[in-house]
């Protein structure tokens, strides 16, 4: 190949690629026709993928941090290393984390999930542990004095009382994961980040509005569901206090 420069063989033929609607071409704020054309092919799959990314990440993150918090509650020595680990993970920019993971786990959903799970650990671990530790000493003494075993104290007293703190953690984790999951699009065309980043680059307003709006809506709905779930699980926390 002589230096890579290829002699042009005449100008290429540029075919008619078809035109967008006036609304699209003028890039108006919101083009319903574009949404109609792209809902099934672009937006809906992205939304479902996004929900999946978040649910899986938070579920795995919750199980891991919950287990770690139980261990740290029992053995204090475990707290510092796990906190340090999750804090370090938390501070790594997603792009940098992907740099580390791509050679190992490839350009895959796994890579994204590992990063997202990593970001949930710190908040979920801290909150669960704080929750377990927030149980008043007199309550623990009463439990012991009445003959609760250690396990019974944990499952019947400490964990139920840690639920509000755990939910506080979950709410932050879910909302921030919904936001963070857009970075999945740095690795694969997956989730709402894909149309959002794409539309931002093209300054294509309709797509920004729809995809961005769906992400915000998803965060609001998820948060409302969590609040409702917490209310249902902890009627005592919202019981009217005696004046």
């Amino acid at each position: 190949m002589s230096g890579g420069l290829l002699l042009a063989q005449g100008e290429p033929i540029i075919p008619d690629f078809g035109e967008g609607s006036d609304c699209v071409v003028e890039n108006r704020f919101f083009c319903p026709d574009w949404v109609r054309d792209n809902w099934a092919g672009v937006i809906q799959p992205a939304l479902l993928q996004h929900v999946k990314l978040v649910v899986i990440a938070v579920a795995i993150g919750f199980v891991l941090s919950f287990a770690a918090a139980l261990v740290a509650h029992r053995y204090r020595l475990v707290e510092a290393p796990f906190t340090a680990f999750s804090a370090v993970v938390y501070t790594i920019p997603s792009l940098a984390l992907f740099q580390l993971l791509v050679p190992v786990t490839g350009l895959t959903v796994t890579t994204v999930e590992i990063a997202l799970v990593g970001y949930t650990l710190l908040i979920l671990f801290r909150n669960t542990l704080e929750g377990l530790r927030s149980v008043p000493p007199d309550v623990l003494e009463a439990a012991r004095g009445m003959g609760y075993t250690r396990g019974q104290t944990l499952w019947r007293v400490e964990l139920p009382l840690a639920v509000p703190a755990m939910f506080a953690g979950l709410r932050v984790a879910v909302v921030s994961t919904i936001a963070l999951a857009t970075v999945a699009a740095l690795v694969i065309p997956y989730g709402l980040g894909y149309p959002i980043f794409l539309a931002l680059r093209e300054a294509f307003k309709t797509e920004i509005v729809v995809a961005g709006g769906l992400a915000v809506l998803m965060a609001l709905v998820a948060d409302a569901l969590l609040v409702a779930a917490q209310r249902a699980l902890t009627p005592w926390a919202s019981a009217r206090r005696l004046a």
Binding site: P136, R144, G145, M146, G147, Y148, V157, W236, R241
Partner: protein, 319 residues
């Protein structure tokens, strides 16, 4: 271990904490007869709470033994032991996430009672501690006043009908009016249930009011005197006890006695001050001083005068 009250015996019990020269409880021997209230009193550092917690082994010990109804606490399974002893603490320690009913049924549930039996028991206990079950059953602790919480705490401790109860300054955090009311409630309830109760307090007046016997402990958990309130007030064993019960022990002694015990002087002229026969001598004295009167008319239950008590008669008693 449930049902009828059991005798609690401390037999030469010593508790040492590792790394501390002085023992927290030293060679403690005392017997709490079944169905009596024993108040453990003493200055802070005298090991009264420690001594109490040895009974349900919240604090473990190596030297000596404690028996409940003849059984060594060390021979019993730890959780079984604790489930068989009612336990009441100052901050109550109600479970915030459980309703009043759930709190009270804690030990019955641990023991696997049937639901129906537990429910009946809860209502019975709420009635006993004077909280209408209909109104209180479903409340959460955050919806109760301090006094109500302690009533629930008491009901919870009584739930599985334990033969013995441990109470660690249960009324210490309440305001004086609520405290006084609950003290009398406790006496009323004890009249009905007759448990063996070890009651820790730093308030000698509370001990005098509640106790069948008082154990006064000094620094290092040494038993200074163990006797009925009257005998302690009349014959303090040593200087420490005398100082501990205070310079007003004469007055305190009067609080143990009622006007009925006195021989009354005949009615003599018009005296405004009146009191019933079950008034304590201390209260009678207080009334006379308050009203600047040297005498007081004792009336019977119909309000008819029975005779007169004079200041001089009370003063003569307290000698």
């Amino acid at each position: 271990m449930s049902g009828a009250a059991a005798e609690i015996v401390f037999d030469r019990v010593t508790k040492r904490y590792p790394g501390r020269a002085e023992a927290a409880v030293s060679d403690l021997s005392l017997t709490v007869p079944a169905g009596e209230i024993c108040c453990l009193v003493g200055p802070s550092g005298a090991g009264k709470t420690t001594a109490m917690k040895l009974v349900n082994r919240l604090i473990d010990f190596e030297e000596g033994d404690i028996t409940i109804g003849g059984e060594s606490v060390r021979s019993l399974d730890l959780t079984e032991l604790r489930r068989g002893i009612g336990y009441v603490i100052q901050q109550v320690g109600l479970f915030p996430h459980m309703t009043v009913a759930e709190n009270i049924s804690t030990v019955p549930r641990l023991r696997g009672w049937e639901k129906g039996r537990t429910r009946l028991r809860v209502d019975e206990l709420l009635d006993l501690v004077d909280l209408p079950a209909e109104d209180y059953r479903a409340r959460f602790p955050s919806q109760l006043s301090g006094g109500e919480r302690q009533r629930v705490g008491l009901a919870r401790a009584l739930a599985a009908d334990p033969p013995a109860m441990l109470m660690d300054e249960p009324f210490g955090a309440l305001d004086p009016i609520t405290r006084a009311r609950l003290q009398h409630e406790l006496l009323r309830i004890q009249g009905a249930v007759r448990k063996t109760i070890i009651f820790v307090t730093h308030d000698i007046d509370e001990a005098i009011l509640l106790a069948d016997r008082i154990a006064i402990l000094r620094e290092g958990g040494v038993l200074a005197q163990y006797d009925t309130p009257a005998r302690i007030l009349e014959h303090p064993a040593d200087d420490f006890v005398e100082r501990f019960i205070g310079s007003d022990r004469g007055i305190k002694l009067l609080s143990l006695r009622r006007l009925d015990e006195l021989e009354l002087a005949p009615l003599d002229g018009a005296i405004d001050l009146r009191a019933s026969g079950d008034t304590t001598m201390r209260d009678a004295l207080s009334q006379m001083i308050t009203h600047g009167s040297r005498s007081l008319v004792v009336v019977d239950s119909e309000g008819q005068p029975r005779g007169v008590v004079t200041l001089d008669a009370l003063a003569a008693l307290a000698e």
